[in-house]
């Protein structure tokens, strides 16, 4: 089966996020006073061909840990897994 998997990688709390800070400050200058903070993250849409959902998830976790994120400064979250329809998401 082929699975669409969406993975988010974000900086750990306490790791500076200069991009998020810049966006936050720009929003402040534009008058969005209700916005209290902005953090920037990366989003990956991956198609994995696996026996079942468990295997797909374990491959997703392995690549997230080993390649997509740097565990020193980042954490990852598998946001969703679903079987692809015809053609997947590409």
């Amino acid at each position: 089966m082929r699975y669409n998997i969406r993975i988010a990688v974000e900086r750990k709390k306490g790791v500076a996020d200069p991009e998020g800070k810049t966006i936050f400050e720009a929003l402040g200058r534009l008058g969005y006073e209700k916005v209290e903070s902005v953090r920037v993250a990366k989003l990956f849409d991956v198609v994995i061909n696996a026996q079942d959902e468990n295997e797909a998830k374990s491959v997703a976790e392995e690549i997230s840990e080993r390649v997509l994120s740097n565990p020193v400064i980042e954490t990852f979250t598998i946001l969703s897994i679903s079987e692809t329809g015809d053609g997947g998401n590409e």
Binding site: R11, K12, G14, V15, A16, D17, P18, E19, T22, V67, L68, N70, V72, I73
Partner: protein, 233 residues
């Protein structure tokens, strides 16, 4: 001294580094390709600056999986001297050969400028010819040189005196103004516990001849050459 300069796809300081090692220092030097694995005959391996693999995902994220990086890790384990400059430093961090990580500069700008760095240790192969407190004028050129480490790692780095260089003023004072990129504790370069691996963001190969505006970077290459000569007896 036999030295090798690694070329990853996207390296761009390999020729400058080769020049300094071979012409300025007179060392036997050769280029290494990223899928080379035969480096046992060398005394020194340099990972030069540049934008390996386009800096995609994270700086150094793909270079660390190059076949040569396995060889470099073994080389270092056996006491070989490894110097990572700029992107080379980022690769060493990604590979886990040095502690910590790089994040984008605090200013979110690519900075290409002269900086001053203070020598914090001279008991390493890279700084043996310098004195503690020496101020070196060496340029930086990077977007991601903002050294970060979680609290427990940073305190380990400091406690074990792994910091070799810190950004400083011309007088050698460690101040926030002298910190170009937001690096924690003004860290510009660190070593591993054994002291045979150094990563630094400033480019000593761009400051090893008077015509370039500074020769202060030369002390690093000369220190390595001296260390290797002594080691060989």
């Amino acid at each position: 001294m036999k030295a090798g300069v690694v070329i990853f796809p996207g390296s761009n300081c390999d020729r400058d580094t080769y020049w300094v090692l071979s012409k300025v220092l007179g060392a036997e030097t050769r280029y290494l390709w990223h899928d080379d694995t035969q480096i046992d005959d060398l005394d020194l391996v340099v990972l030069p600056g540049g934008f390996s693999y386009g800096d995609y995902l994270r700086t150094g994220a793909f270079a660390r999986f190059s076949p040569i990086m396995k060889a470099v890790a073994d080389f270092a384990k056996n006491g070989g001297i490894v110097l990572g400059i700029c992107n080379g430093f980022q690769i060493l961090l990604e590979a886990g050969l040095l502690e910590g990580a790089m994040i984008p500069n605090k200013s979110l700008r690519f900075i290409c400028d002269w900086v001053r760095i203070r020598v914090e240790r001279n008991d390493t192969p890279f700084t043996a010819n310098a004195k503690i407190g020496d101020v070196l004028k060496i340029p930086i050129a990077h977007f991601e040189g903002n050294y970060f480490a979680p609290k427990e790692i940073l305190s380990k780095v400091e406690k074990n005196h792994l910091v070799v260089f810190r950004y400083c003023t011309e007088n050698g004072d460690i101040t926030e103004d002298a910190n170009p990129n937001g690096s924690l504790n003004n860290i510009a370069g660190i070593a591993n516990e054994q002291g045979n691996i150094l990563g630094m963001m400033p480019h000593p190969e761009r400051a090893s001849e008077a015509i370039l505006g500074s020769e202060d970077g030369k002390v690093i290459f000369e220190s390595i050459a001296k260390y290797i000569k002594q080691k060989r007896g």
